[in-house]
Symmetry: C2
Subunit: 437 residues, 2 copies
């Protein structure tokens, strides 16, 4: 029996007052005892004072609203030094917690729902936070993306095809002048955007303001030359104490320059603070997400961190593309993309699956994304093209043209030499396995 103090029927709750968190866990004890303990650890760990007749649980307690035992007598799937030599029950539970306990604040919400308590429950070998449903009353405190899919499309004046962005390579060690020149080549070749690598931000050898200035000069030239709108994602990732300064440097270009920001290294809450200013689109990068999302039975789902990134206001979110190269299943990528588009009070954010993307993978990306609202993130696909970066960029546009015209890449390559070369050369020169297992 689930402890009666820690359970509720969904229909009995005032749902606007609760977050509903879905946990996947492996229990070595009775699952009903385990979920009761989970409720206790995430909220009312002690519910009364000594010698006082009271109970904080009716008002402040977490409550189990559903429990499903998916497998019984299973071998543990998350195995580490403290995994007991016992069989486990694999369970899914939904737990409601009154959000008055933490408020519409990312750090406090994380401390409660994904915090310390749930990872230290006796008898729970592993636990993953799969999803959190936030009620309207909670979500309305979040501005979310201020540009989003539509805002980015409007700025770039591209309505009906996926957008293409390449990391400028070499990613490290170029002077700002060399970097701007490389950016220009990609942009005139046909890229919609170029970006800094997540490894280069405001460095001694390439200060952000200088790089930005030179790239923007070239970008305006590329716009004139091609008649297309372009953007540069400048990596403003830095200490929180310096974040506003870099943000403002980008803002000087009045929305013509975008920014890149590494969510977890900077912290979700600092991202929320800076993104709330809403002066230009900002794109999320994914360093330090793998460490807590990789194992499906421990930590947090990737989908949930995608959802939180949308909540704090990212207009596009770079995420690992499908396949063994990025240790990401099709199903996981699907959920991440869905999370970008989920209907709620927030604008939709543009999913940007990246990692080893070459033109040959674009047909599959159309299929995976089930929409044209996605951002292709490449790097070597453009900057290692054997005919140079302009040709590399062209080969991506050609791949998209092929699909939009209903042709196979191979057909289209017959009359488009950059695409032809890309298909041939990258097949022979795979530095990584293909993204499709």
């Amino acid at each position: 029996m689930i402890d009666e103090n820690y359970q509720a029927k969904l229909e009995e709750l005032d749902l606007e007052k609760y977050t509903i968190t879905e946990y996947l866990f492996e229990s070595t004890i009775n699952p009903e005892k385990a979920v009761s303990d989970l409720c206790q650890e995430q909220a009312t760990a002690q519910h009364r004072r000594s010698f006082v007749k009271e109970d904080t649980r009716p008002k402040y307690g977490a409550k189990v609203v559903s429990l499903d035992v998916l497998e019984k007598d299973a071998d543990p799937k998350f195995v580490f030094e403290f995994t007991p030599k016992k069989k486990v029950s694999v369970c899914k539970a939904k737990i409601a917690q009154p959000w008055v306990n933490f408020g519409a604040k990312i750090p406090n919400m994380i401390s409660a729902l994904v915090g310390e308590g749930i990872f230290y429950v006796d008898g729970i070998n592993s636990i993953s936070v799969e999803n959190i449903e936030f009620p309207k009353s909670f979500l309305k405190h979040f501005k979310g993306p201020q540009f989003g899919v539509e805002g980015i499309r409007k700025k770039l004046q591209v309505k009906e095809r996926p957008l293409i962005c390449s990391v400028v390579k070499p990613n490290i060690g170029l002077t700002p002048e060399q970097f701007a020149e490389q950016a220009f080549k990609g942009l005139t070749g046909g890229l919609d955007m170029v970006k800094d690598d997540e490894m280069i931000a405001d460095t001694e050898y390439s200060p952000l303001k200088k790089r930005l200035e030179l790239v923007m000069e070239k970008l305006y030239k590329a716009q004139d030359k091609t008649g297309e709108k372009k953007a540069f994602l400048s990596n403003i990732t830095t200490e929180v104490s310096q974040l506003e300064e870099l943000y403002d440097a980008v803002a000087e270009y009045k929305g013509d320059a975008f920014a890149l920001l590494s969510t977890m290294p900077v912290g979700l809450s600092a991202c929320r603070w800076i993104l709330d200013k809403g002066k230009f689109p900002v794109v999320a990068h994914f360093p330090f997400i793998a460490p807590f999302t990789r194992h499906p039975y421990f930590g947090m789902s990737y989908k949930l961190i995608t959802k939180m990134q949308r909540m704090v206001g990212y207009d596009a979110i770079i995420m690992p593309a499908f396949g063994s190269r990025m240790f990401t299943s099709h199903n996981e990528l699907r959920k991440n993309i869905d999370s970008c588009f989920e209907e709620n009070s927030l604008k939709k954010t543009l999913p940007a699956p990246g990692g080893g993307i070459k033109p040959e993978f674009i047909p599959q990306m159309y299929k995976e994304c089930k929409t044209k609202d996605f951002l292709i993130i490449t790097g070597r696909g453009v900057y290692k093209h054997p005919m140079g970066p302009e040709a590399g960029a062209k080969s991506f546009r050609q791949a998209i043209d092929a699909i939009e015209k209903g042709k196979t890449l191979e057909e289209y390559a017959e009359t488009h030499k950059e695409l032809k070369k890309a298909l041939e050369w990258f097949k022979e020169h795979q530095t990584h396995t293909a993204p499709v297992p």
Copy 2:
């Protein structure tokens, strides 16, 4: 062979220019190829422009300085959906990276060394960042703890025994008045400090400023009554946009009030920003650290996050205590404590192992910590004592007195009823297994 572009002898490097990162990893391919790829992914992913004779690697490249194969033909220890059905080599490698690539900035350092790249290397099944050695030239940019062990001892005027802090319980749902009354009981009973639970911060039903005001009133009374100095750790964890406001509220007590801050939910960099103000001691709490430190072969070592918390300026660091209750081995706790005391340019920070601590465990804590410089964090040990919180606090002081006088707890309990009761009662009413396996 390790790729010659990605290796160096330690003695050939200007060590002030490099961080040295120690990785533990499982490789399904030749370990020498794997470490070469690790270097490539964390720095110079593409090292030259098309048609240009250049190489960014000599100046900006990461370099392997040591590689040890610890096990060959082993079964993978980190098993997840993409783990290949192959034997692995378990390896340790030290990799030097020129820190000009990222600067003395936490977000950029994390993006490079613990970032995206290292978790997406073909042929590396799992990887854990065990340690990072920062040269003096890097570390000098960090203020570190501004009070630390000595500063906290000076404020509390306690020279030669461990300090005792209890979470005020019930942790959630008390009015500020009720909370302050509970705090008073613990403090007059003999606690050095009381603290907010990590679950309660600035909430509607208990606004931080109100709670702080009432607790501080009671705290000054408790000081008068006991003739001892006391402190309250007020949980200022909140959105980064509101952090300074809460910090300043605590600062109004001119160093008599301390604060508690949840590092990862707020973000290391925002913590660095606020802690740099240095107006009063701040103590770190550990929500959201388990998700990326739990598995010894994946993510980051707990020791490293302890080290980073000291760098950003925490004066004391709450960490999981030893034992199966906290999924923490003696060895891991030992390394965490060592990290608080490691000799470098920063002040030492006070380790605070917590989780289910009762008086009976104090002798072992002395043994584990090998020093009196530690902070005991309890909660139920004080606030569930069957004779009430004053007695609970007394029982902890008595346990310390016993040890300081060279007696066993059992001997001392014969003449000290609060300790006697604690030893008996918590033995019968274990809500969790004891912290020692």
